[in-house]
């Protein structure tokens, strides 16, 4: 690097946008789907999950990037796992200490951040060959893309399954009196799969239209 780059240069901003939309970890890289579906029955749990993942991914990326010159490639997976597991333990203990109810609801899924392929995938694909600040931003942008999809799945699920968003009632009482009922299926497993499928359909459709217009 001959010229020093600003901390938030244009290139970094571009990379951020790319991971949130075009190369979204869930819809494009097919990473980290498990927890995306399991924690989305409520917007609140989904948000906590996103924050947890953002913390773990950005820090693990930073740490691995700092250590990248000292990690022998033969045992790198195990080193990644140790770094990631340590960070996940921190998240889990913090949740248990300050948000016990939520940590009960998230149950094993916090622990499963360890095997969330986003964390591992970014460590392997990005942090091993880039500097710490870039890796930190890479972790953040991937988590942002993950968060976008998580919220997009969680909002309809909570809204139609319970009539609330973040615990606030959205669907008015009068609607229930007129015979509207909450759709219980939205809280069950199949709806998560189907909503995610439809979201991905929508995203590809938008991209295809854009490609046609732009003539790319």
């Amino acid at each position: 690097m001959s010229q020093r780059e600003g901390l938030f240069s244009k290139r970094r901003w571009e990379a951020f946008r790319e991971f949130v939309w075009e190369q979204n970890p869930i819809s494009f890289q097919i990473l980290g789907i498990c927890s995306a579906l399991a924690t989305t029955t409520q917007v609140k749990t989904a948000m906590i999950m996103v924050l947890g993942l953002a913390f773990v991914t950005s820090l693990s990326n930073t740490i691995i990037s700092l250590l990248r010159k000292y990690i022998p490639s033969a045992i790198r997976i195990i080193i990644f796992l140790v770094v990631i597991a340590t960070l996940v333990i921190i998240v889990d203990e913090v949740l248990k200490a300050f948000m016990f109810d939520l940590s009960k609801k998230l149950s094993v899924y916090v622990g499963l951040i360890i095997t969330n392929c986003i964390v591992m995938g970014r460590a392997e694909a990005f942090a091993m060959s880039n500097g710490p600040w870039d890796s930190f931003l890479d972790g953040l942008s991937n988590s942002a893309g993950y968060g976008l999809f998580l919220l997009a799945v969680a909002i309809p699920r909570e809204l139609f399954g319970k009539g609330t968003i973040l615990g606030f009632t959205i669907i008015p009482e009068s609607a229930y009196q007129m015979g509207y009922k909450d759709a219980g299926i939205m809280l069950l497993a199949p709806s998560a799969f189907i909503i995610l499928g439809l979201l991905i359909w929508g995203k590809t459709e938008i991209e295809m239209r854009a490609a046609k217009k732009g003539g790319r």
Partner: protein
């Protein structure tokens, strides 16, 4: 005996780890293109889970739990190491997978040739770690954890093989262009999960 049978049925059908708990999605999507691959990966997962779940059980109950025998023997009964659980299970899984790979290579070369490429993938399959965590959470005993590990693996294998079969058929169907690929897979999985929900009333 009946208790174990009902646990097995429950974890294969009613609480299928993939369709009800969403675990092991990544490899499910990535490796269900061909039926043969799906069968290979499914077998490997059954194999690994049957070993790692009881192995994690040993770790938790002998070393990590509060008042575990090893801690008692070391005369530190106040120590509760269960917060190290994640680290221990993931190490057990990674080590087991590595060990299994070497063992199969040496003694069962035919099986190794068939499973070989899938084994490293399993270390990061969240279903394997998930099974270990659920096992701890639900306080299974040793026998239960063996049954649970094996049957959870079977449930996962069944789901991926059926998905591979469906995808084979899908190739000849007329799907809207935007829905092709990932989108339709998720919708099919949703429908598959819905059919599995029919089992949910069953009690043995």
């Amino acid at each position: 005996m009946q208790h174990y049978l009902s646990l097995a049925i429950k974890s294969i059908f009613v609480e299928n780890i993939l369709l009800a708990f969403f675990l092991g999605q990544c490899s499910f999507v990535a490796c269900s293109k061909k039926v043969e691959t799906a069968i290979g990966l499914g077998t490997a997962v059954i194999f690994v889970m049957t070993i790692t779940t009881p192995a994690s059980w040993f770790f938790y109950n002998i070393l990590l739990r509060k008042g575990a025998p090893l801690l008692m023997w070391l005369n530190v009964p106040f120590l509760d190491l269960s917060f190290l659980g994640f680290m221990a299970y993931i190490a057990v899984i990674a080590a087991m997978v590595q060990f299994l790979e070497m063992f199969l290579d040496k003694y069962f070369p035919a099986l190794y040739a068939a499973l070989g490429i899938f084994l490293p993938l399993i270390a990061v399959n969240c279903a394997v770690l998930g099974a270990a965590l659920f096992m701890v959470k639900r306080d299974y005993n040793l026998m239960e954890s063996i049954v649970y590990g094996a049957s959870t693996g079977m449930g996962w294998a069944m789901a991926i093989v059926s998905m591979a079969a469906i995808r084979k058929k899908l190739r000849y169907s007329n799907i809207p262009a935007g829905l092709e690929g990932l989108g339709i897979i998720f919708i099919m999985t949703g429908l598959l999960a819905m059919t599995f929900m029919c089992f949910s009333g069953i009690k043995l």
